[in-house]
Symmetry: C2
Subunit: 275 residues, 2 copies
């Protein structure tokens, strides 16, 4: 690929479903000249209860699909796949791949004053202990408290965001976290920012809530600059965003229109098992 | 296949995950001479939020896998796949395939006195309207009230069965059902029998709770008898049950040991996408 066509190549972003749209939105905001190809694995969602081997296989299929779209870099916009598959796929493909765990961990290390950080995420993410490993490799003096909150995703997806039940589930999961003395809490799942105000209300104003999406977009910006792959926008008319899913395109499209700051006119279905 | 080896051939039973074990248990109870091959699609669970095309494709792959085990009949022990895929796969394979919806519907028609039946299930099952279609083809005078309860599955899987939150979610979903005047309620998802006592407590003693598993085992018995495929047990030592999953075999095996009335020593992982 020529340097110019490489600059114009899109960023690949993928997630198990719709959650990663919050990361794609942040990339669109911070890097307005870049084109994005988004893939949501809606046929096999959720990833948070599945094994590492399966999540690696799914991630490899998706990366092979995104490579057919000539992407210049790939962002795993899913905490579970970032925690369990990034190490495996990182050197397997001839395209840079980054996740959300390292940027999220760095943001928390910068945010904590008392050197106690909390992490909430899916079963698979928490069982991997990846946030703890990454944080302690950056700052060995930081204590990390991890807690899986597997009901948060279905509560968000079923529209229980403002129901009293959600407040009770938050208390059930986070009571020990609140008492643990942390002063920074990583939302280690892309669905959780949608519960941010409820979590903040329960945890209190003194705890800094860290959403890895912003830091991830900033890391991507740095990568593109260092690799001289930034799209300077000189030849573009306007940025192009395309959306692919493995199932239920219309449902995804409706959700995407509530998250993205522009109209999402179409979503395409891909048989991802063929990749 | 000779008549004798056909009689000794196993029954294939499949589900999106662990829920169908309640159906396999009923088959083992009612047909103690039969061998069973169970497949749980744990890599792609749940099915209840996915599209019909995807559920048909998944079901076809699983039936092709079960056919490699020389099964003589297949039971779709998943309400969602029964509702959305049975019609499509029914005549596609040279092995009889049955689901849980028709037996469950028949049991409810027999149970109702006031000709008002309720059905609870996943989004996909309820949106298909299949229970209503089947019940009204059997008994046009019966009114059917369907209601999706998508949070029940994650609540069961996350161990919230006895938590106060579950009582509140039951009330949220079933208040209108309780006020609708039904006198029979189909548990149209294989996870729901695990909430049976809580649902009964909320709905009251006057409402008959229908679990399609028993009726399904009875329909299978009738099919085997009519097709002269019953295993009379004359050549067997003891019945054999084997368990296959698409992911997380050890987690499945532990759960299976809490459901099945015998020891489940091993579970095998299959890459189902290759079928």
């Amino acid at each position: 690929m020529s340097t110019d066509s490489r600059k114009r190549a899109p960023i690949g972003v993928f997630d198990s479903g719709v959650g990663g749209l919050t990361v794609a939105r942040e990339i669109a905001r911070q890097l307005p000249n870049e084109n994005i190809v988004y893939f949501g694995d809606t046929a096999r969602v959720p990833y948070g209860s599945k094994s590492q081997n399966t999540i690696i296989r799914f991630s490899e299929q998706i990366i092979r699909f995104l490579k057919t779209k000539e992407v210049k870099a790939i962002v795993i916009a899913c905490n579970t796949a970032s925690a369990l598959a990034l190490d495996a796929v990182h050197n397997e493909f001839d395209v840079p791949v980054m996740g959300v765990v390292i940027p999220g961990a760095r943001a928390a290390v910068e945010a904590t004053q008392n050197r106690r950080v909390g992490v909430i995420g899916t079963d698979a993410t928490v069982q991997s202990g990846m946030y703890t490993k990454v944080i302690q490799s950056m700052a060995p003096d930081v204590t990390v408290v991890e807690k899986a909150c597997p009901l948060f995703v279905p509560l968000v997806e079923e529209g229980f965001k403002d129901h009293v039940v959600t407040r009770e589930v938050i208390e059930y999961y986070l009571e020990s976290m609140r008492d643990s003395g942390i002063d920074a809490l990583i939302l280690g799942c892309t669905h959780y920012p949608l519960l941010r105000s409820k979590i903040r209300e329960y945890m209190g104003e003194k705890i800094q809530i860290v959403n890895p999406a912003y830091e991830t977009a900033m890391d991507l910006k740095k990568l593109l600059y260092e690799e001289k792959m930034e799209n300077d926008g000189s030849t573009r008319e306007h940025s192009r965003y395309s959306f692919y899913v493995s199932d239920a395109a219309e449902k995804f499209r409706r959700f995407a229109n509530t998250v993205m700051p522009f109209d999402v006119p179409t979503t395409n279905v891909v048989n991802i098992e063929e990749y």
